[in-house]
Symmetry: C2
Subunit: 141 residues, 2 copies
């Protein structure tokens, strides 16, 4: 079979994270490990796509972790050198071939195309790629 | 603020889905709505990144939904015309600006760079973008 990377795709960010976190060195590893609240600033062109999202909703935010090293395939889990190296796909390391961040956050407030969300570990300026609802039970979809 | 899409990123697929589903018209809307088991065929170059994944693990699979219409910002949820239109970011519609599929599946078996997984609604040939572990409790990470 041919190499799958022969056909590439272009991610066009739809907004940016606004956060007090300015460096990955200061950022918690996951949102529930002490991450601050942050703002998602969506581009005006995609504003209409937010219709149906309300304060209190839990959402899945997808970002592009633009500081990641895409050549990395093995890491010490959680950067802990006492742990043996493992494949990146068995970890949540940000460095990986396609560094897409996956963040489950709660919407605290929504003001036009600006969403205030809880506990986000992505740093200031991180490109936003997608927003999805958390899936409920089958009969609630 | 400048339009966030001024800086684009390139997704380079790391493999493909092999599935009996050949058309999006036949595919269930979510994996837990009757989707078949499938294979994830990873490219040999990223094989080492799978180290640490074992049969029985739950993983989060990210795909690029290559049949999606990226211009869509509003949809009838679940394609149900009796439901009012909503913004795509409040739905799991595949058509959206960056059509990244998010699938929680269980690894049934692993054979080199070929993973057999349960209940996947992505169709045959869907590009694989990333694989992540499902996060456990904080003290198990």
């Amino acid at each position: 079979m041919a190499d799958s990377s022969e056909i590439d795709f272009t991610v066009r960010p739809i907004g940016r994270v606004q956060s007090p976190l300015t460096s990955t060195a200061d950022a918690p590893r996951q949102g529930d490990e002490g991450a601050p609240d942050a703002y998602l600033i969506l581009d005006p062109e995609v504003h209409v796509g937010l219709d149906g999202i309300a304060a209190g909703d839990e959402i899945v935010l997808l970002t592009w972790l633009h500081k990641a090293d895409r050549s990395v395939l093995r890491v010490h889990p959680r950067g802990d050198l006492s742990r043996p190296e493992a494949g990146v796909f068995s970890t949540r390391a940000s460095s990986r071939p396609n560094p897409i961040g996956l963040h489950r956050v709660r919407v605290l407030d929504i003001d036009g195309h600006r969403l205030h969300v809880s506990s986000l570990e992505a740093i200031d300026g991180t490109p936003i790629v997608d927003v999805k609802p958390v899936l409920g039970a089958i009969d609630e979809r």
